[in-house]
Structures are given as C-alpha cells and as structure tokens.
Amino acid sequence: MKLLEKVLSFLQYWYFRYTLVTELYMVEKWERHFINIFLVSLFCLLFYFNHKILLPATSLVLSAG
C-alpha cells in the first residue's frame, strides 16, 4: 500500500508539473480534459502514422538500397 501511495503521489506531482508547463494549471476543468484528449489523440495519430506509413516506407527504401 505504501508503495502505491508513493507512486500515486509521484504521478500526481508530475501531472501537476505537466499542467504547469502546458498552462493547463490555470484553465477550467473541461478545457484541461479537452487539451489532454486532443494531445493524446494527436500522439495516437502520430503513432499510427509512424507504424503504418513511415516504418514500411523506410524499410522499403533501406531494402532497396
């Protein structure tokens, strides 16, 4: 339990630091969720793009070379 609490507080602290540097500290709750979802979906799309397009393309170029 102690470990879980420690991890939780660690995560909480760094989430707080994340809200500070992205200015989400001072905005309303729904705005914070909005940006978080937006960022997560952006990263997901980026991941998908890399996985489905960029990786095959580079491997194609490398194997051709």
Binding site: Y13, T19, L20, E23, Y25, M26, V27
Partner: protein, 621 residues
C-alpha cells in the same frame, strides 16, 4: 514658440518674476521668448563675456554669445545640433570627460532562457489562445456588452481585450488585491474567492497578514505613524487637502515652493518643479520639451509614461536596445549622418531618454558611458529616476550619487515621489548651462551669467508645461510627506535615520539577490537594484507562485504580458528598508522550497557554495 494665447494673462510674467531673484532679466527673457522666436543679447554683462569667451558649448549647441543664445527648451532649429564640431579638447576638458567608471557598478546579469523553456512557453501560449477562442465560441463572456450600437464598429474588441478575458482573467486573483492596512513591511490582505474562474470575486470576510514584497516602498516611508505622518496631519489641518486650482493660477502655495527648493537642494541642481502626478510628469512635460523635427533615442524598456509622452510630442522616436551603449552610439551616428527622414535636414535637437532603474528589468542605466556619448555627439539627456531617487547611492540621491557623477551634467532629471518618499507626484529638476564655461572661468561676471541661465529649463517648464498650467497643484499634506521624508533622507532633520534606511536597503538588496542566485533561480538586473525580478516565464507559474506564496503569508506581484514581453513572465520582489533580516530569511526559505516543487531553478550559472553574509550595522562594506 507656441505660447497659448488664450491663457496668457498678465499674471504669468509676474509670477515667474517673483520666483527668481533677478526678475528684471528673466522677465525680459520670458517676454522675449514668448513674443519673438529669436533673441538678442541681454544686457552688457553678456557682451563683456562674449569678448572673453567667443564660443560656448552648451549641451547640443554651439552658440555665439552676445549675438545669439540658444538654450534648452528653445524650440527653433539649432544650427549645431546634430552637427557636432570635433574641436580639440584642452586638458581639463578631457579630465572632465573621463569618469572613474567602477566596473563593479555595472555588475548585472541577463541570463538567457533555456531553449526547452522557451519552446514550452510558446507551446503553452498557443494552447491558451486556442482554448480562449473555443471558450469564446461556446460561451458568451461574462462582461458588459455594448447595446444599441447597430451599425457601429465595436469599441472594445481587440487583442488586448481577448487577452484580458482569456489569459489574464484566469489568474486575476493574483493582481489588484484589496488591502486593508498600511503597505509597509507587512500588509493585511482582504481575502476573496472566485466561483467562476476569475470573472467575479466575493469577499470571504477574513484577512491575511503578509510580508509585503510588492510595494515600491524602498525606504520604508509608507508608515501610518512617525514624523512624516504627524507632520502631514498638521499640514492637512493648516492648509486643507487641496487648493482646487492649478499652479499657474491660484494653486501655488508656499509649501510647493519649499518643496521645489528642497528637491533642487536634495538633487544638487539649481532648480526643480513639482507636479501632483508621477505619470503625468513624464507624459505632459516631454511634449513641451521635444516637438516634431526632434529625434528621441529611447531605451527599449522605458516606462509607458515616457513612451506616451514621446508619442504625444510628435518627435521621431528611435528605440535602442536595453542599456546597450554601443547600439545607442550607432543610432546616434546614423541619425546625425542621415538627418531627418525624407528631407535630410539636421535635427532640431536630439534627446536620449533613459531611466535610472528599470522597474521591470531591475537594471541600472550605464550613466557614465551615456554621459560620454551625449557629450561627444552633443545630445541632451533625459533621465527618469522614478525608481532610483532615494533608493540608490550612498547618500540616497539617486543614480548620479551611485556613479559619483555631477547631477548638473544630466540635462533633465525627472523623478517621482511615489516610491522612496511614500507619497505621490513627480518632479523635473535640471539646469541648462555650459559646463565647460563653468569650469574654465571662475570670475564673477561669468558666474552671474551662469546663474541667470541656470534656471532656464525649469522656468521654461513653468510657462509651457501642461501639467503646470492645467493640472491641479499638489495636495499640501502630500507635499509635506515628501518634505519630511526627504529631509530625513538628506539628514536635515539632525538624525542619521535616513542614512540608516539607505544602508539597510542596500544591505537587504545585496543579501536578497545573492541568496536568490544561490537558490538557482534566474534574476535580472544589477546586483544593487532593489527591484528584483525572478523569471518564471509561464503564466501558470506566475499564478502558482503568487498563490503559493500567499498561502505562506508572503505578498508578491507577478508581472505578465502588457508590462513585459509575452514570453517573459516574472515575479517582482520589491525590497524595502523596512524589511528585517528575519523577514527576508523567511521569504527566501519559502522561495527555495517552492522553486524546487514548482520548477523555477532555471539558472545555469555557477552557484556560490558559501553561506551569504548579512552585514550588521557596525560593519561597512
């Protein structure tokens, strides 16, 4: 020479005459100034001098005595301004020009922002803008709306308005806080809460006593007890609270003349003129000193009042980089070489406008170097000492005292009474005199001539300044507060209380700044300036730092966009002589604490591993 013809009663000349001892001469001069733009020689004394001294070099002017005398405030084109004649200097002139510049006095730092922080600040700002637009789209802002304006262009829709509603509003609880005590070393805040993210506030009914690091109370004269308060009350009972008239009409009281003489004595110049409002001192006097066809070289970080005044004047404004003497020289050279825009005519006059201590940067002007430049290129110097007068220098006389420079070398000294003196208002002090002439000739004739010229600038302002002619004169108790505090600083009250305050402030400043450097936060400015900006960059961090410090009973001020560049949010600590070492230690301990948890340790500078000493009263640095 634009004299306002509607308001030229006979009383004007009479009043000016009564203020100077050689009223005959001055009266003639003022009249001559008002009626004709070109003046002829003024009596036999000058002709005598003209035989002995053919050419004097007034600041920015090379003129011939006896035939035509140009002086400051004389708005006709100066034949020599912008055309410096490089004559060989004699030995004592050279000595006059070299200052013993102590490099330690320039000891200032402007650390660059780490790249990652800059990137994140931009990113965060885009997020805020984005959210602001979405918020505006979905909800109608909770503000007053313009009604019955169909067909009119909107009055209040601009970027600043948007910024105020969707960036500033979110952290609005950190500014404009209501207080309910004297803002001395400590201040009592009236607590308030908001339920709608800063659109409205409600008082909770409780109060918090905080250590006050947000007031420009440099020497701690913001007190509700003590000699200043007592004398002010006495004056209030004697003279009332207002004259309800402007200085030029019926508002002049003996207390104003006393204050002006005291200010001049305090600053070490011949004459001064005081106004009831500090901001207006800049804004309303600059237009009477410069006009279209003049060039103003203004520091990048100059205060809004200076900028407003310069814009009102219609002069061409060129901005040089903050405290960068080399860039200033480049600007001067270019300006003199190319002359006025389009026509290429020489400038009527060139004025360098700088501040003593820059309130947002905490830096101190490089006065000796600028004085050298000003003499080399024959420009005028306007020094705004709003934050420095009283606060800096061994005797508390401001920047000139700090650098051990003769204050008479600065053409126009401006300052406010709002900060160090714990009062309100502003002054302009100065002389307009050929320094070279003063140094060369010690005979009485020249001295007589000098003293006739010394008050030219101030007398010119007494006639032409809008603040002097139209603004209400300073309230007597406010003037009394300045007089008493100034006398204490100058030691004219017979005690060393003023000296103690100046010393205490210097000690506090050094201690606080060094400790902050040791903590590892980025501070800007000179190590001797009592304004200490601590860079936090992000809006959220301004908010979080101010809020956290308030919970720990420390009141500070955050500074954001309109006052600073968009990406350079900062917390500004204003030190005071009223702070004790214990209070500062408490503040520093808390700053160290939160700079760890909030991530404010941006500095890459090497830190001093040794503990910082706080010098006691007996020790002298």
């Amino acid at each position: 020479m634009v004299g306002d013809w509607r308001r030229r009663p006979v009383g004007r000349e009479r009043q000016v005459e009564s203020q100077v001892p050689w009223s005959g001469t001055i009266g003639t001069r003022i009249e001559a100034m008002a009626t004709t733009s070109r003046r002829t020689c003024v009596g036999t004394t000058l002709t005598e001098i003209s035989e002995t001294e053919q050419r004097i070099q007034a600041n920015g002017i090379t003129s011939r005595l006896g035939c035509r005398v140009n002086n400051n405030g004389y708005a006709k084109a100066h034949p020599a301004n912008g055309h410096p004649r490089f004559i060989r200097e004699s030995k004592d002139e050279k000595e006059n020009r070299t200052y013993p510049i102590k490099l330690s006095k320039y000891n200032e730092s402007f650390e660059k922002v780490p790249f990652i922080t800059a990137a994140l600040t931009h990113f965060g700002f885009y997020i805020l803008m984005f959210l602001g637009f979405i918020n505006q789209l979905l909800f109608t802002p909770n503000v007053a709306k313009e009604r019955k304006r169909k067909g009119y262009a909107p009055l209040y829709e601009n970027f600043e308005q948007f910024y105020l509603r969707y960036v500033y509003r979110r952290v609005r609880d950190c500014w404009n806080r209501p207080i309910c005590s004297v803002p001395g070393a400590t201040v009592v805040l009236k607590d308030r809460t908001t339920n709608d993210y800063g659109w409205t506030f409600e008082f909770t009914g409780t109060e918090t006593k905080c250590i006050n690091l947000g007031s420009y109370n440099y020497l701690g004269f913001a007190e509700s007890t003590g000699p200043c308060a007592e004398e002010s009350i006495r004056t209030l009972k004697k003279f009332g609270c207002s004259s309800c008239s402007s200085r030029l009409e019926l508002g002049s009281m003996p207390i104003h003349n006393e204050l002006e003489q005291l200010t001049a004595r305090f600053l070490g110049v011949e004459d001064a003129i005081v106004f009831g409002m500090g901001f207006a001192t800049n804004t309303l006097n600059l237009p009477s000193l410069v006009s279209a066809g003049s060039l103003v070289l203004s520091d990048e970080k100059n205060h809004a009042s200076v900028i407003l005044g310069l814009r009102l004047s219609g002069a061409i404004i060129r901005v040089f980089k903050h405290n960068n003497v080399k860039h200033l020289e480049d600007c001067l050279k270019k300006a003199i070489l190319l002359g006025q825009q389009n026509t290429g005519e020489p400038w009527k006059k060139i004025i360098i406008v700088v501040e003593g201590i820059y309130s947002m940067e905490g830096s101190i002007v490089h006065l000796p170097e600028i004085l050298k430049l000003k003499k080399k290129y024959k420009a005028y110097l306007y020094l705004d000492e709003a934050h420095s007068t009283g606060a800096i220098g061994k005797r508390g006389r401001g920047i000139c005292d700090y650098y051990d420079v003769d204050p008479r070398e600065v053409d126009i000294l401006m300052g406010t009474f709002t900060k160090s003196f714990g009062s309100a208002g502003g002054y302009i002090a100065g002389t307009k005199v050929a320094n070279i002439l003063r140094n060369k000739h010690k005979n009485t004739a020249v001295h007589l001539f000098n003293s006739a010229f010394l008050q030219t600038l101030i007398n010119y302002l007494r006639v032409h300044s809008h603040a002097h002619s139209y603004a209400m004169s300073m309230s007597p108790p406010i003037a009394q507060q300045i007089i008493t505090s100034m006398k204490i600083i100058a030691g004219e009250d017979g005690t060393d209380a003023g000296k103690k305050r100046t010393k205490q402030l210097a000690r506090n400043t050094r201690y606080f700044r060094r400790k902050l450097n040791q903590i590892g936060v980025i501070t800007y400015g000179n190590e001797n300036s009592p304004v200490v900006p601590m860079l936090v960059y992000l809006f959220s961090k301004i908010g979080s730092v101010v809020r956290t410090l308030t919970t720990r009973n420390i009141a500070t001020v955050g500074v954001g966009f309109p006052a600073t560049p968009l990406m350079e949010g900062r917390i500004r600590f204003c030190l005071s002589a009223a702070h004790t070492k214990e209070q500062l230690d408490y503040v520093l301990k808390n700053i160290e604490d939160i700079s760890g948890t909030l991530g404010l340790k941006y500095s890459n500078k090497p830190r001093d591993p040794n503990p910082i000493e706080y010098y006691s009263d007996s020790e002298t640095e």
